[in-house]
Subunit: 125 residues, 2 copies
């Protein structure tokens, strides 16, 4: 698929205050919302604890409860709960309540991102 049209970046636009500089071309501005939204996802995943949780949830056959994740990553219950909350508000996991347990699983976004990283490693470019 060609991505030039769907690209959310506005091209060829006045940069702010450096119109006639010497060294190279204008640098187009980037959609502010795009940056903020993507960084939200990236920074939620860009942490050892949270990324390991995502990986473990994905590797499990079914959805996973907090108590088992807690044992798996070796942190306090509170730390795991906070990490999962952050992943939840970033839209990377969903949760389902069953009795007093909460079962977490990945969203499609998270699945796709993890797959992309696996692909990068596989292509070893």
């Amino acid at each position: 698929m060609s991505r030039d049209e769907t690209d959310p970046i506005s091209r060829a636009e006045q940069s702010e205050g450096t119109a006639g500089t010497a060294c190279c071309a204008e640098v187009p501005k980037v959609e502010e919302d795009t940056v903020v939204a993507d960084v939200q996802l990236l920074s939620a995943l860009g942490n050892d604890t949270r990324y390991e949780l995502v990986r473990r949830i994905r590797a499990a056959e079914s959805d996973v409860c907090v108590c088992d994740l807690e044992a798996a990553v070796g942190l306090s219950q509170s730390a795991v709960s906070q990490a999962l909350s952050r992943l939840y508000s970033a839209g990377l996991v969903t949760r389902r309540k069953e009795g007093s347990w909460r079962y977490y699983s990945l969203t499609d976004d998270a699945e796709q991102l993890v797959e992309t990283f696996d692909a990068l490693r596989t292509d070893d470019e």
Copy 2:
């Protein structure tokens, strides 16, 4: 492509110390190196300044010198240099020297990651 075989996660394995717990299945362990390597990339991208730099470099027609990026993101020369260094050591940008200028462009990894994010937004799942 089926990803079940290339998946770098070791499945169905003793979790550490919670063998007979009640609530749910075992949580497989995750390759430590995988987590560390991916988080390296994710945390490098997961910052407003650095992600905006990546977006701007990508949006430019050719590779971009530090001075123009500096003007574009509105931070000090030092801040931009540090951000680009971080992106460089994460393997997200390459740099080429021409005279006293340094021209930065994206690596294939960075291209692919940004494309993935655009795709997530486009599919609006």
